[in-house]
Amino acid sequence: MKKFICVAMTGALAASFVVSASAADAIKIGGIGPTTGPAAIYGTAAMYGEQIAVDEVNAAGGAVQFDWKFEDDTHDAETSVNAYNSLKDWGMQILAGTVTTNPCLAVGAEAVNDNMFVMTPSASSQDVIDTGDNIFQICFTDPNQGTASADYISQKGLGTKIGVIYNSSDAYSSGINTNFQAEAANVGLEVVANEAFTDDNSTDLTTQVQACKDAGADLIFLPIYYTPASQILKAANDMGYAPKFFGCDGLDGILAVDGFDTSLAEGVMLLTPFVATAQDDATKAFVEKYKEVSGGDVPNQFAADAYDVVKVIAQAGEQAGITADMSASDICEALKATITDPSFSYDGLTGSGMTWDASGAVSKDPKGMIIENGEYQPIDEAGAEASTEAATEAE
C-alpha cells in the first residue's frame, strides 16, 4: 500500500512536471502578484485590473488577442519564481508583473535569462529596471516623483518660493526630496526652506511649518505620507498661514485620517497616478467595471497601473505586429523596439503621453489632483483656468 502510494505520488509528480503542448491562437500573457498573504490588497487589485483590461482588449477584437493567467506569489521571492516558472510551462509569452518589488527582482533575473518582456505595474524601485533591458515600469520610480513634482510646479507656475518638509528617516521621502532639490535648481524654483523631521519626532511639526512661514514660502512641498501631512496642515491653519500645499502619492489617503478636519485639506494638490473619485470618463468607466468584477470594491492605484500595463502591451503589440506563434524572445525584441521608439506614446488611467526609454523607466506627464469639496479633482490641461480658479479658491 505504502509502495503503491509512493508510486502513485511519483507518477503524479512526474505527470505534473512533463511539458505539455497546447494550441496557440491568442498571445499568452501572465500576471504575478500576491493575492494571498500580507500584501494581498495590492496583488488582488492588480489582478482585477489586468482582468478588466484583457477583457476589453479581447472584446475590441483587434489584431492582438490575449489569453491571460494570473498566479499568486504571496509576496515571496521563491514563490514568485515558482509562479513565473509555472506560467512559463503554461506557455506565457509576456509577463505583466510582478506587483511587488522584491519578488520582481528575483523574477526579473529569470526573465532576463529568458529574454521575456516584463512590464511591472507597481514595483517602483530603481533596481527593478536596472536588472535588464527587457524590464519596464509603468509607475514612477520613487526618486523620479521628486523630479516630476518640481517640473509640474514650475510648469504650472504654482509657486516660486518653495518650502519643503520631509521625513529624513524614510527612504521614500528622502529619495523624493533629493531629486526634487536637484530638479528645482534646474527649473528655477527657489527653495527657501528645507525642513526635516524623523519618525521619532513626528508628533509636533509646528517648528518646521514656522520655519517655512518665516522664510516666506508660498508653496510647501510635502513628499511624505498622509499622517504627518495632516498635522502640518493643522499647524499651518492654527498659525494663520495659508500657502499652497503640494505632495506626492503618499498623500493619497489624507481624507481618511481619523479625527482630521478634512476642510483643512481643501486646495491641497498632489501628484498621484490615479484616484478613483476622479470625474473623467475613463476613470469612471474603470471604477464601474472594477466594482462589478471585484464585488463592490473601489480600485486603488495598483489596479489602474495593472490595467494600463495590459493596455500598453496591447497597443505596442499591435504596432509591432506580434502574433501568437512568435517565441517569447521574439515578442520581447519586437515590443522593446516599439515601446522605446520615440513615436510611441500611450494615454491611460495613470497618465497621458507615456513614453519609455531604453532604461525601462516611464516618462509621463504626472496627473495633478486637487482636493475640492472633500473630493479629488484632476487639474487637467484642458481646464487650465479651472486649476487657477481652484488655486485662487484655496488661497
Binding site: 519564481v81 509555472s86 510551462d89 533596481d127 528622502s174
Partner: protein
C-alpha cells in the same frame, strides 16, 4: 543477535538514504536529458535540495538530540546573508568556483558561530529552553538584518541601522545591503549537481556522526539525561556538538538557497519557515533521515502542484498535511494498514526479518 539487528538497521538507513538521493538525482537527470523537465520543476530543484538539507539538519537536533529548535531558519538566514555578502563583494574578484566554495565555507562557519553563541548558554540547561531561545534568536536576527544597511565607498565600509541616507556615502559609493530590501543583484549560481553533492556530503557526515561514539552519546542524552550523565558523558559538549553541526548544515543550505535567487530578504527566514522545516521532520518521522528527505520533497513540491486550486491552494495544502500526518501516525490508521497485511516500517519493530532489502522496498 543484538549486534546483527543493529547492523541491519544501520545498513538499512544508509542504503535507503543514499538510494533515495540517487533515485531523485537519476530521475531528474533522466527527465532533463529527455527534454521533458518543465520550467517549474527546474526552478524547484535547488529549493528542494536546500530544504532537504534543512530537514536533515533539524533532524539532528529534534530527532537525535531530542531538543526543540524553533528558529532553525535563522541559521539558514545567517549562512545565506554572510555567504552571499561575501560572494557579492570579495568573491566577485575571485574565479567563479573559488568564490562559490568560499561562500559556502564562510556561510557555514558564520551559522556555526551563531550556533555556538546560542548553544553555549542554553544547552547547559535541560528542558525546553532551547525552543524559547531559538525562537527569540530567529526574531532578533530577522529584525536586525531587516534594518541593516551596509555600503562601501572609497572611505571604507559604512554601517547603519537607520536608513540608506545615514550611511553618509559618497555619491559613487555602492550600497551592498539595503535593510528591508536585503541584498539585490546576486549573480545566480544554481546547479542541481551541487545541491545533490551537498546533500550527499551532509548525509555522509550525519550518518557517520550518528553511528560514531559521539552519536551514541548524543542519543543516550536524548533517551535519559541522568543515565547518560551517570556513565560519564559530558552533556553540554555532546549537545553542543550536535547543535553546532546542525547549525553549520543549515548555514550551508542557506547559501545554496540564496545563490539560486537574484535577491535575498531577511523576511523569508521567519518563524513560518522554521515551523515548516519542523513539520518536515515530524512528518518524516523524528530521527528518520530517509523520512525527512521524502517529507522535505513533498512539502516543497506540494504547494506548487496545488496551483490549480488558486486561492484555496494553502487551505488544501493544510488539509493534505493533516491527512498525511494521520495516515502516518494515527493508531487507527496504523491498525487499519496492519489489517490489510502491510509491512509497517516503525522504529520499534525493526526485527530481524526486516532487512535492508525490505527498507528498499518500502521506499
Amino acid at each position: 543477535m543484538a549486534k546483527n539487528k543493529k547492523m541491519n538497521r544501520t545498513a538499512r538507513t544508509y542504503l535507503t538514504s543514499f538510494l533515495l538521493v540517487a533515485i531523485f538525482y537519476g530521475a531528474v537527470e533522466l527527465i532533463k536529458f529527455s527534454g521533458h523537465l518543465t520550467s517549474k520543476a527546474t526552478g524547484l530543484l535547488i529549493p528542494v535540495c536546500a530544504y532537504i538539507m534543512m530537514a536533515i539538519s533539524l533532524n539532528l537536533v529534534v530527532g537525535f538530540l531530542g531538543e526543540l529548535s524553533l528558529g532553525h531558519a535563522a541559521f539558514m538566514s545567517a549562512g545565506a546573508f554572510v555567504g552571499v555578502f561575501f560572494y557579492n563583494t570579495a568573491g566577485a574578484s575571485l574565479p567563479g568556483w573559488l568564490s562559490v566554495v568560499l561562500a559556502f565555507v564562510i556561510g557555514g562557519i558564520a551559522a556555526g558561530i551563531f550556533g555556538v553563541i546560542v548553544g553555549v548558554p542554553v544547552l547547559r540547561l535541560s528542558g525546553d529552553y532551547l525552543a524559547i531561545v531559538t525562537l527569540a534568536f530567529g526574531e532578533i536576527l530577522k529584525n536586525v538584518l531587516n534594518s541593516l544597511y551596509i555600503g562601501v565607498d572609497s572611505a571604507g565600509v559604512h554601517f547603519s541601522l537607520k536608513d540608506q541616507f545615514s550611511l553618509n556615502m559618497e555619491p559613487t559609493g555602492k550600497v551592498l545591503m539595503k535593510g528591508a530590501m536585503g541584498i539585490t543583484g546576486i549573480k545566480k549560481f544554481s546547479y542541481f549537481s551541487v545541491g545533490i553533492l551537498l546533500i550527499v556530503l551532509t548525509l555522509i557526515f550525519v550518518l557517520n556522526l550518528m553511528n560514531s561514539r559521539a552519536g551514541r552519546a548524543i542519543t543516550a542524552i536524548r533517551d535519559d539525561e541522568i543515565a547518560a550523565k551517570s556513565v560519564g558523558i559530558n552533556l553540554t559538549s555532546y549537545k553542543l556538538m550536535a547543535f553546532v553541526s546542525s547549525a553549520v548544515i543549515a548555514g550551508l543550505s542557506g547559501v545554496l538557497y540564496a545563490l539560486n535567487f537574484a535577491s535575498l530578504v531577511a523576511k523569508k527566514f521567519d518563524y513560518n519557515l522554521s515551523i515548516n522545516i519542523l513539520v518536515m521532520v515530524v512528518l518524516g518521522g523524528m530521527g528518520s533521515i530517509p523520512g525527512a528527505i521524502v517529507a522535505a520533497v513533498i512539502l516543497t513540491v506540494l504547494p506548487e502542484m496545488l496551483r490549480g486550486f488558486s486561492q484555496y491552494r494553502m487551505f488544501i495544502y493544510s488539509i493534505v498535511l493533516i491527512v498525511m500526518m494521520l495516515f502516518n501516525r494515527a493508531p487507527a490508521f496504523v491498525a487499519w494498514r496492519q489489517r490489510l497485511g502491510l509491512k509497517i516500517h516503525t522504529k520499534k519493530n525493526g526485527n530481524s526479518g526486516s532487512t535492508a532489502e525490505d527498507g528498499k522496498k518500502e521506499e
